[in-house]
């Protein structure tokens, strides 16, 4: 059975056309997380969002990898629409980075130390 899809208008959730702050991203994450947990799919509508930062997207989208969601679950339950062509690369960077960050947070932190000190 197909799940009911909830449309989330990002501009309405954050009350701005600038999706820039970590806190705004966290608000969006909470909404997505609540719907997914309750068995809905979501459509994230970025219409009207003029500017975005990775800080916002780390919190809104990247944070989805902090829990139990797999890529398969996220791909089949989240659709992202109305994103400016030149902003799409930010999503890719944030998602790649989040996967890396959460895959093994501890291991990553250690490897950052090693990279810096070379030992």
């Amino acid at each position: 059975m197909r799940k009911e899809v909830k449309r989330l208008k990002i501009q309405q959730i954050i009350g701005s056309d600038a999706a820039v702050a970590t806190e705004s991203g966290d608000k969006v994450f909470q909404e997505i997380n609540n719907f997914l947990k309750n068995g809905f799919s979501v459509e994230l509508d970025f219409e009207g969002v003029e500017i975005m930062t990775t800080a916002f997207l780390n919190a809104a989208i990247g944070q989805l990898y902090s829990g139990d969601y797999t890529s398969e679950v996220l791909n089949s339950n989240i659709k992202i629409i109305n994103v400016a062509e030149d902003d799409k690369i930010l999503f890719k960077k944030v998602i790649d980075r989040a996967k890396e960050y959460f895959q093994d947070q501890k291991k990553f932190n250690n490897s950052a130390n090693t990279a810096f000190y070379g030992s």
Binding site: V20, T22, T53, A55, N58, Q63, K92, V94, I95, F102
Partner: protein, 292 residues
């Protein structure tokens, strides 16, 4: 106590060292009033008002009063237009058609006000590059990444910002400076790595893609690298001052130096090249289907 500023203060290593010297000189001053005298100062780069304003904030937090005196007409005009002198009893001069990006302070949760500032002070300016919408967007994006970085990592009480257009320079440029007096990059990086690293090395670590001092449920390590990648393409310049570290990137070269004394916060100054004709179009389209 009277502090005479030097003949010239520019956005370079020596200029920032001068701000650090000023701060360290007044740090333990006993007098209740600090007088910044501009009598010798023939050149003060307007965007550095953000750095001086941040130092004033620290002095005032100690219950002292700051006055600005003996300012020469040319410096007075610029600092009156950008609003810096307003709190010292000088009236504000309208700057609508000018090359000024005004001096402002922002509380940490004021991202909408900061958005308005960017909209009013940059995007609506006649000299802002209209030939490339994408360049304008990239500049705005970099400024927001920088602001967000200052806000979240510095955990500052307020950020001080100021800028200046140089439409007659070749290439045309826009300088924008954001200063926060919260935790320095050196403090955050040393705490994270649990090892002592010099100020310049700490900044160098922080600007590398994937490096972040965040450890919680929200990933990081992209903001500064996004700015850095853009500045590289834009052929602009970025300077970061934090604690005793100085880090600069321009024309493919990175300069890392340590100051004498510390700056108790972070100054980030970006110089954007407004004559940039790069298209900023992506070579390969990114699909959001199955992006996860």
């Amino acid at each position: 106590m009277r502090i005479c500023l030097p003949i010239s203060i520019k956005s370079d290593f020596d200029g920032y060292q001068c701000l650090i010297d000023i701060y360290n000189e007044v740090l333990d001053a006993e007098s209740d009033t600090i007088d910044f005298s501009f009598q010798n100062t023939k050149w003060f780069e307007a965007n550095l008002a953000a750095g001086l304003g941040a130092i004033v904030e620290l002095i005032e937090n100690k219950g002292k009063k700051v006055i600005i005196s003996d300012i020469r007409p040319q410096q007075q005009d610029i600092l009156q237009r950008n609003g810096f002198l307003q709190k010292y009893g000088y009236s504000r001069i309208s700057h609508r058609s000018g090359t000024i990006v005004s001096y402002q302070t922002f509380k940490p949760n004021a991202d909408n006000l900061f958005r308005d500032y960017i909209r009013n002070e940059l995007l609506s300016k006649p000299d802002f590059p209209t030939h490339s919408r994408l360049l304008g967007k990239k500049i705005t994006e970099s400024i927001f990444e920088l602001y967000e970085n200052a806000r979240t990592h510095g955990r500052c009480r307020q950020a001080h910002t100021c800028g200046q257009y140089y439409p007659n320079k070749n290439p045309k440029r826009l300088d924008i400076t954001i200063v926060d007096m919260g935790n320095t990059i050196k403090t955050n990086v040393n705490e994270f790595l649990q090892q002592p690293v010099s100020g310049a090395k700490a900044i160098d670590w922080a600007v590398q893609k994937g490096n972040t001092t965040k450890t919680g449920k929200i990933s990081g390590g992209l903001g500064l690298s996004i700015i850095f990648e853009f500045i590289e393409l834009n052929k602009g310049k970025i300077q970061i001052v934090s604690s005793d570290g100085y880090w600069e990137y321009r024309k493919g070269e990175t300069l890392k130096k340590d100051f004498n004394g510390i700056f108790p916060g972070t100054i980030a100054n970006i110089e954007f090249n407004l004559d940039d004709r790069s298209s900023y179009r992506l070579k390969n389209e990114v699909s959001l289907d199955d992006i996860f």
